[in-house]
Structures are given as C-alpha cells and as structure tokens.
Subunit: 334 residues, 2 copies
C-alpha cells in the first residue's frame, strides 16, 4: 500500500464550480496486481472539458461519479510493476490524473520519451491538446494554404499549437486572447499576425481591423460572442471548427443572433471530440514531433506546484487565468 491523495467530486457544480463541490482525500493506493503497474504521477493535466464531466447530464465524456476519484490526463513514472513490458522507471502517460498515485493495467499506459521533451509536453503539445489542434485544422476545418484563420484562446494548450500549425501550413493567422500579456505573447512568441484582446472592447470591431478580408477558418474554443463574431466575419464557404465553447460551460453563453448567415454564406460549423480521432495519433505525432525537433514550434507549460492546488488551477483555467500554453500541476511533492 502506498499513501496517496486524490480528488473526489462530492456534488455536481451548478454554474461555476466551488470548493465545496470537491474534496482532496488521503487514501492508500494498493500494490499492483498481475499485469498492473503503480505509477507515481509527476504532472496532472487540467483541461476545460473536465467541467463537462462534473455534470450529470450525458456528455461526450462519461460523468464523474459522486464520491469517487476524478480522472484525466497525467504523466508519471512506474514505481512498481507486474507487467514486464513496462518496467520500473518507465515514464508513462495515462488517464488517471487528479491523484498522486495510480494503479493501472500495463496496457493502459503509454511510455513516453523523457529525453525528447519535458514530461509536461506529453500533456500538451505532444498530447491530447496537440492532437486536438491537429485534428481540428486538418480533419474538421479542411485547412488549406492561403486561407485566413482565426484561433480563439490563441495562447492556450490547444490554440497555441493550432495557430502555429496554421501559420506553418501557409495561412495568415490571427488570434484572440484575454489580456494584453497573452496577446503580446501570441504575436511575439507564437507568430500570430495579430492578436485581439477580447477584454478590450468589441470583439467584432477589433477583428474587423485585423481581418479586412474576412476569415476562411475559425478555430473555436470559446463559443458565445466569439462564435457570433466568426459568423459575422466569415467569408463564403468558411469552416467553423467547434473544438470547445468554454463560454457555455459555467453559465449561459451570450446568444448567437446571426445564425441565418450560415445559409447565405454557406458555412460549415462542425463540432468534434478528439477521442473519436485516436487513429490519427501516429500521423499527428510524426508531424509535430518533427516540427519540435526542427525548432519550428514553440510551446510552453505553466506549472502549478502541489496536488492541493489542482482544483484552484482548474478554476483558474476556466476563468481564463494568466497562464501560457498548457496548465499542469506538479504533484511530485505530494
């Protein structure tokens, strides 16, 4: 038995989650059985989609059970193994986050190369958010060189890769983000042609200035007023990639009152969930890993220290926060 800590959902949030909805629990993690491994987690992922799992309503993700540990992406190191294919010392990525230690079947973990990239990268640019960006552009948005692309949440885990991939594909790419710092980072570090601060006035008016010829592809992480602006600025036959709508996760998103333009502009508005596209993982990984080796992709992780701060990090993420790139929690200290 290993002393461990995990987060449980105690009640389903109504609107914005609060501390009373969850609890950090001391527990004993059992030793691994045959074919299993014990992983000491190093980094936990917090992602916007987890808010959906806190609801009872059916969602694309099964809801978290009340009184049970929550879960999500994590990377760590195998510290006990009863699967010879995954020896002690192996760094692995898996789906039992929101906890310090996890027992899983050896087949349920994926070994990662800790030399090739820092461990948090496997929760970001090389992980689920990276694949999300890739699938959204190439499979859902039918991106083509020369298009004008807008990426919202442009500096987040998904957006920061989406923006760079679109630029490298030969598109003109503008971003939007919350706050001057993020916008400066978007332009200076991530290579966006421009980035508008959605907290600094009318989104549509600001976008009109940086998108004088409209937009052909919108990568939506926000919904609400962002989606409305995209419909307004869309060129005929534009694609709107519905990756996420964080504006609607905790409250009613602002209404989108211009949907009639979908007809006249012949828009395609298409939602997706990355788990349906797992078969694209090798293609994605080969592409992005090569770009990383060549130094053509920038990425950043914002690391919060301590398992006890996981929920606060998650709340910060939902509020937009001030982090850059992928937000992870370092739980090596317990």
């Amino acid at each position: 038995m290993t002393t461990s800590r995990h987060w449980e959902l105690r009640r389903r949030p109504r609107g914005w989650p609060v501390h009373e909805d969850v609890a950090l629990v001391d527990a004993e993690t059992p030793s691994p059985g045959p074919g299993e491994v014990l992983v000491r987690n190093h980094y936990l992922s917090v992602d916007p989609y987890m808010r959906g799992r806190m609801n009872e309503a059916r969602s694309y993700a099964a809801p978290y059970e009340l009184g049970r540990p929550m879960y999500g992406g994590a990377v760590g190191q195998v510290v006990e193994s009863r699967d010879e294919k995954v020896p002690v010392g192996t760094f692995v990525q898996h789906g039992l986050g929101w906890r310090t230690h996890a027992v899983l079947r050896g087949r349920a973990v994926v070994a990662v190369d800790a030399e090739a990239a820092p461990l948090p990268a496997y929760l970001g640019v090389l992980g689920m958010p990276g694949l999300t960006a890739w699938v959204g552009l190439y499979e859902i948005g039918a991106m083509r060189p020369g298009q004008t692309v807008w990426v919202s949440a442009a500096t987040g885990a998904v957006g920061s890769l989406a923006g760079q991939l679109a630029r490298l594909a030969g598109c003109r790419v503008v971003g939007s983000a919350g706050g001057e710092d993020k916008c400066r980072y978007a332009v200076e570090e991530l290579g966006y042609a421009a980035c508008v601060d959605h907290r600094a006035g009318s989104l549509t008016e600001q976008l009109r200035e940086v998108l004088p010829d409209g937009l052909d592809l919108y990568f939506d992480n926000v919904g609400g007023d962002h989606l409305r602006a995209a419909v307004e600025l869309a060129n005929p036959f534009a694609h709107l990639v519905e990756c996420g709508m964080i504006a609607a996760y905790n409250e009613k998103a602002p209404p989108v009152d211009n949907l009639f333009q979908i007809v006249g502009k012949k828009l395609t508005v298409r939602g997706f969930i990355v788990s349906d596209w797992a078969d694209r993982q090798p293609l994605f990984h080969a592409h992005v890993a090569a770009l990383l080796r060549e130094g053509r992709i920038r990425y950043e992780s914002t690391v919060v220290e301590g398992v006890e701060r996981t929920f606060d990090a998650f709340l910060d993420l939902l509020r937009g926060g001030t982090h850059r790139g992928k937000l992870v929690v370092d739980v090596r200290g317990g």
Copy 2:
C-alpha cells in the same frame, strides 16, 4: 412593343414587407432583338429567398435594385423569337419572373416538356426547389438509409420533396408544419411517419414524442426555435442541413441557446445555396423525373390567379400561409 406589367421594388422593407415597398407597373416590353426571344409568362414563382434580395445588405443573391423590376423563376411560352433554336411556341423556364412578359437571350431560357409535367412543376418539384431538396439531402446532409430525418416546412416546395426523397432512400422521416391541415397532408399524402404542428405547443416536446431515438439529419427551412429543437434532439454525428431560415427573414429569430451541444454531439451544421450546385441538375433531374414517371413522388402546386396578386402570394408564403407544395402565380390573365 407588347403591353406588359411588372413588379418593382420601391423601397427596401424593414422587417415584414408591406405594399408600400413595391409597385405593379404597366410597361411596354420591346420586341426581341437578334438572338432574343419574347416570352409570355404563364406562371411566376414566389420563393422565400426573394426576401433576402429586397435587402440592401450583401446576400448570396444580388439585391433587387430600387425602381427596377424584380425577378425570379418563371415559366411561359415563346411568342416572338429571333433565336432559331427556340422557336415560337416553345415552353420555357427562365429567371425573369415578377412580370407578365420577358425579353431574354435565347440562351438564357431552358425549354421544358409541357407534356411530361404541368408547367408549375418546373418551378417546384422539377425546378429550383426540387434541386434544393436533392442537394440538401445528398450533397450537404450525407443522407444514408436507416437514418432518422426531420424536415421542417414539411409541406412546402422544398420540404415536400425532401421528405419523400428521404423516405424513398430508406429513412424514417418526420415533418413539422404550421397547422393541422398541413400536418394531415404531410402524413396522409406525402408519407411522413409523423408531422408535428409547430403552432400547437412546444416544438421540442412534440418532437421528442415522435423522435424517441433522436435524429440523425435535420433539413432546416426555418431556423430559430426549430434549429434549437434540432440541436436538442440531435444524435451524435448528426447533420443539420441549413437550407433556409425563414424565421429570421423578417424579424429576429428566437435565439438558439444550446449551441454548445455542437461540440459534444459532434454535429455538422452546414449551409448551402442551390445555385452553387447547378452541375448536379442532370443527376437530380434524371432521378426525380424517373420517380415522377413511376408515380412514386407526390407533388402539388397552389396556384394564385392574377399578376396583381403576386405580392400578396409572396407575403402569404413568408407568413406560412395555407398553401400546399409550390406556390405559383398564374399571370396568363395579365
């Protein structure tokens, strides 16, 4: 010169069009020049999309010019010809409606077979509305046998064919329409499995009863509350075909407040304009003309008599009216 009458747009409607926005004008139609024909129109088409042409704002259709004749689909007979390929007596379809007589280049008219179908059919089931239904299902909606399909405005020019084509393709098809009479017609004559009256209570609740397993394809002619209901009832990977949004043409459509489901349900919401799909005309015509010959498709035209009633017929169409199938105006009486 031929004495004729045509409708002009006198000012751009704000909201619902009124009689003061248009005028029926007596005129002289000149004799055809070289390569031209003079057509005496028999039937004029009134279609919801014409409302968009009355606006100044850029739309998929060029706006009607103020003080100039409006135009749209029409069928008639050549009464003078200076194009030997289109002799006097030929029945033709063309784009200069909203008038009793038209002079066009011979190349701008399409001869139609008045023996194969009554002339109004070339403005409906065999014309632009028919192609619209066909393209919406086969090209935009990716219809497949066994799917559950909802067609709104189920008894209209487009909907009545869309519903039948979907049924013949092996789908379970429900409709929605305004009023008991239309719903009865939809089920008894057009073969819908069920039809809900959107004037008779909650659309979503009524649909839930007839769509216990949700829907895979929604053919939208209405928008607003209809689009909201479709998102609510959509199954994962459903397609929402945005053919028209008549609820938004004259007033703000009711807001769609559940768009976040586009992500989780992985919906595809896609608008189209039939004129982009003109190359599908031969495929469509071969398909639907054969079904008509075999008696497997029902269609109906509602004929309003007299060019002076064209605008009232158009208004009636926008309000939903009581007509069945394609609404046309017989202008043979002048």
